[in-house]
Amino acid sequence: MNEHKPVTLTKAKLFLIIVLPLIAGTLLSFIIPQPVVGLITFDDEIYGFSAKEFNTQITYAREHPEIRAVVIILNSPGGTVVDTESMYMEIARLREKKPVITQIEGIAASGGFYVAVGTDYIIAKPSSMIGNVGVLSFLPDNPSIDENLYSTGPYKLWGFPRDTVMRELEMIKQSFLQAVTLGRGKALKTDAETILRGQIWMGSEALRMGLVDELGSLSYGIEKAARLANISHYRTEDLRILSGLPDPSSLPFFIESPDGLISPYPPNPGIYLLYVPNMEGKQ
């Protein structure tokens, strides 16, 4: 008759079966990156340079899996139409993979709001300035001819008939309205006519109208982004640094005269999604 011999785990066996795999597993676990909530600070008018830097950070977030959510810290009165649309479209691509939150600080007007409604969630301060939905533009002069300057068509130099500019504004306005209604969806509690008045509302009023989702702080916004991304024990990173951009700088957006007075209008002719406050005399 056979008798079971007692199994005795020698230290060596214990080490091989438990400790070693545990150590190996622990080392391997570091492959799992700590999730990151990426922060993009946009505190500028929207124009070519600022939009480019913004899109660089958005692209970085999209291409790096450890970035699980993005919070845009927004403080912008808007700017050029095409750059606004460029930012909006890049955000839309990012949103396919990761949640994007907008945390409105001082102002999100016109193009700034256009960008905000392109994100998943909008958090504002009670006194943030929000809205100013609309488009503005200077009209070109009526075409004329010059003896010394020839062109091959009546609008080669002027670009558009004056009447066409007016109608293009209307078209862009419609796209802006669509962006707002699509972005806000069922949360929107006001009608198109009210939105298109171009008014600016305070954060608390914007909340009642459904233009924003919540009132809260930046830390709350980061936590919200983390919840949407189903992550915890995350860290936050400034995507400007991660994407290798230099320290923030901006080019003058509004016209500044030699004596320091800033005009309320941008220097270059064009169509703008822009909030133009009375800045006469502002230094």
């Binding site: 199994v7 091989l16 079966i17 438990i18 070693l20 795999p21 545990l22 190996a24 597993g25 622990t26 391997l28 676990s29 570091f30 492959i31 799992i32 990156p33 700590q34 999730p35 699980r68 959510a69 909006y88 479209m89 839309a92 949103r95 396919e96 993979k97 990761k98 949640p99 392109g118 009447d163 066409t164 007016m166 109608r167 293009e168 504004l169 209307e170 078209m171 419609q174 796209s175 669509q178 962006a179 699509l182 972005g183 198109a192 006519e193 298109l196 008045r197 949407l228 991304a229 189903n230 992550i231 915890s232 024990h233 995350y234």
Partner: protein
């Protein structure tokens, strides 16, 4: 046992990995739906419907060839914030109607310009009107003139470089809005512009500022209109006729309410038209919907008014070539001829032809010079005037020599006296026995401009079928009434004597509402418009008085009182005469009548 030795290490290998994973990640991010973005490709620019092709208007050639009936003044003297080229659509329509357009000059007082104008157009004024100008405009409209006044929110303030150097409004520049200036003129007619603009967020033409107007009232100005678009417009308030207004979704920028959305109104029997937008008539917006038709209606409004034409329009009493008819008894002395020369220059300055004539032409205006009492030819033009001439004479020798039943004879001076055919009122004939300076046969004085004064045989009266001498009453009858066209019994000779007449029984003329005046003291300037012909009749005591009256005609009528618009009573008494005769002048040199002299004049000549 062998299986255990494999599974346990694997578990311990996976455990840290799982722990870390769940430590950081509680799930995967899943979107509920695809990210929605605007359908940019489907967006289109809104364009309005254009007006239908209108029949090509052919110019009215007859109205181009003849003197234009309507003169339209376009104001450029009050910082008007527009270019003439912007209203090409309106000026073209006016040209097609044959109207003549003039641009106001700041060097000529507005009141004077308006005398020769039938319609006044004020667009986007930014320099204020003086009280005198406002009164002139009010008088102009009171007399049937038409006013078009338009403001525009996009032209509310003066542009740099635009201002008025008007002699009458030199200091009102740049600080008034167009609304304030326009309201100076039209508030008195029950219309006012509001300093706002109307907008419609949802129902508009290309922009919230461009409102669509379908609420159009039935009126001659809005005839045929169904849809108008105004490109930024003020709203109006009015107690008069509302022509067009916005719908319930059109709001005012002042209140963001739809309380008052009137954009066009008329007043004063549709002689005043106020509109809150100018852009609608500029290119290309004039082509939208019925805007061009509205412009055409406005042009018709400006050229169909009937303005009362009377002596208040002096010096613009004539609008066509002027024929001069002088009564044969009036001697063309050097003073007279020089004054006629001045008269010719005066008419040349008004761009009017002027010439002596023996026959009246239907397409010419008329200037008649005659002495008291007017002859039958002259009285044919005086039907509307209820004047009574009283002539008396106790000179029986004069009467006895004048035989109303005698045949026509030629006296030693070559004057013809005509045979009376019956005892009926007829034209007055001169007293052949009384030599006077009223000798039309004197041909020694040269005539101006080669014109040949008519001889007695050349003058024909269109209605003079009875050239017989005036039947004289058997006795002198005072206060014999002379109704126009029918002189009952004037005393021949007395009126042609050139003398002051009997001091105790002066000849008089009675003017309704004014009383009797001594004919030696006054000259009359009568104005009538019949069958489109303007006729001015100058009546005075003698040739010297006629000369004075012509002077009044070519200068101004400050020495005259204008009664009921068509009778000017001009003083013939100079200060020298009055001092010599111990009489005060009838007028004080500023057109104000001397009351004491009036009291004297109104005394009955028989008393």
């Amino acid at each position: 046992m062998k299986i255990t030795r494999i599974v346990i290490p694997i578990l311990f290998l996976i455990l840290p990995i799982l722990a870390r994973t769940f430590w950081f990640y509680q799930g995967d991010y899943q979107r509920d739906s695809k990210v929605a973005t605007p359908d940019y490709a489907s967006l289109e620019m809104p364009f309005p419907s254009l007006s239908t092709t209108r029949p090509k208007n052919s110019p009215d050639t007859t109205s181009i060839q003849t003197k234009p009936k309507h003169r339209v003044l376009i104001d450029f003297s009050h910082g008007n914030n527009f270019d003439l080229s912007e209203i090409d659509s309106l000026t073209e329509e006016l040209s097609l109607t044959g109207a003549q357009m003039e641009l106001s000059s700041s060097s000529i007082p507005l009141g004077k310009i308006l005398k020769n104008i039938s319609s006044y157009v004020v667009l986007a004024p930014t320099n204020g009107f003086t009280p005198k100008e406002i009164q002139s405009i009010s008088d102009f409209i009171d007399r049937g003139g038409r006013l078009l006044i338009i403001t525009d929110p996009t032209r509310n303030y003066s542009m740099p470089g635009i201002g008025s150097d008007s002699l009458e409004s030199p200091s009102l520049t740049s600080y008034l809005s167009s609304v304030e200036v326009a309201n100076q003129i039209i508030e008195t007619f029950g219309i006012s512009f509001s300093d706002d603009y109307l907008y419609n967020i949802l129902n508009n033409e290309g922009n919230f500022r461009n409102i669509i107007l379908s609420d159009i009232q039935n009126n001659s100005i809005t005839q045929g209109l169904s849809k108008i678009v105004f490109y930024s417009t003020h709203s109006l308030k009015t107690t008069q006729t509302i022509l067009m207004k916005g719908d319930q979704s059109t709001l005012s920028s002042r209140t963001d309410q739809a309380e008052n959305t009137i954009v066009a109104a008329s007043a004063f029997n549709d002689n005043v038209l106020a509109i809150g937008d100018l852009t609608f008539m500029t290119s290309p917006y004039v082509q939208v919907n019925d805007n061009s038709l509205l412009v055409k209606n406005i042009a018709r409004f400006l050229t169909t008014g009937v303005k009362r034409h009377d002596l208040l329009d002096h010096p613009f009493l004539f609008s066509r070539p002027v024929d001069l008819i002088i009564r044969e008894e009036i001697k063309l002395n050097s003073d007279m001829l020089s004054e006629i020369t001045a008269l010719q220059s005066h008419f040349e300055g008004l761009n009017l032809e002027f010439d002596f004539s023996t026959e009246t032409q239907s397409d010419h205006d008329l200037l008649v010079l005659d002495i008291y009492p007017p002859d039958e030819n002259t009285t044919t033009y005086m039907e509307q005037f209820d004047l009574t001439f009283s002539y008396e004479s106790d000179d029986e020798s004069v009467l006895s020599e004048y035989d109303p039943g005698s045949n026509l004879e030629t006296d030693e001076d070559g004057l013809n006296s005509e045979t009376p055919q019956e005892n009926s009122p007829s034209a007055q004939t001169p007293d052949p026995t009384k030599k006077s300076d009223l000798d039309p046969q004197s041909q020694s004085t040269p005539t101006p401009s080669g014109a040949v004064p008519p001889s007695t045989s050349d003058i024909t009266s269109p209605t003079n079928s009875n050239k017989g001498a005036t039947p004289l009453p058997g006795s002198i009858s005072p206060d014999i009434a002379i109704t126009p066209g029918k002189i009952i019994s004037p005393t021949p000779g007395e009126e042609n004597s050139g003398q002051d007449g009997n001091e105790e029984n002066p000849n008089t003329v009675e003017i309704p509402g004014f009383g009797k005046l001594k004919t030696r003291d006054v000259g009359l300037l009568l104005f009538s418009t019949e069958s489109e012909r303007n006729t001015v009749i100058i009546l005075a005591e003698n040739a010297d008085a006629i000369y004075t009256m012509l002077e009044n005609l070519t200068t101004d009528l400050t020495n005259c009182i204008i009664e009921q618009g068509n009778v000017a009573i001009c003083s013939m008494i100079s200060e020298a005469d009055s001092s010599t005769d111990d009489e005060e002048p009838l007028f004080d040199g500023e057109g104000n009548i001397n009351q004491s002299e009036i009291d004297t004049l109104f005394q009955s000549p028989i008393e």
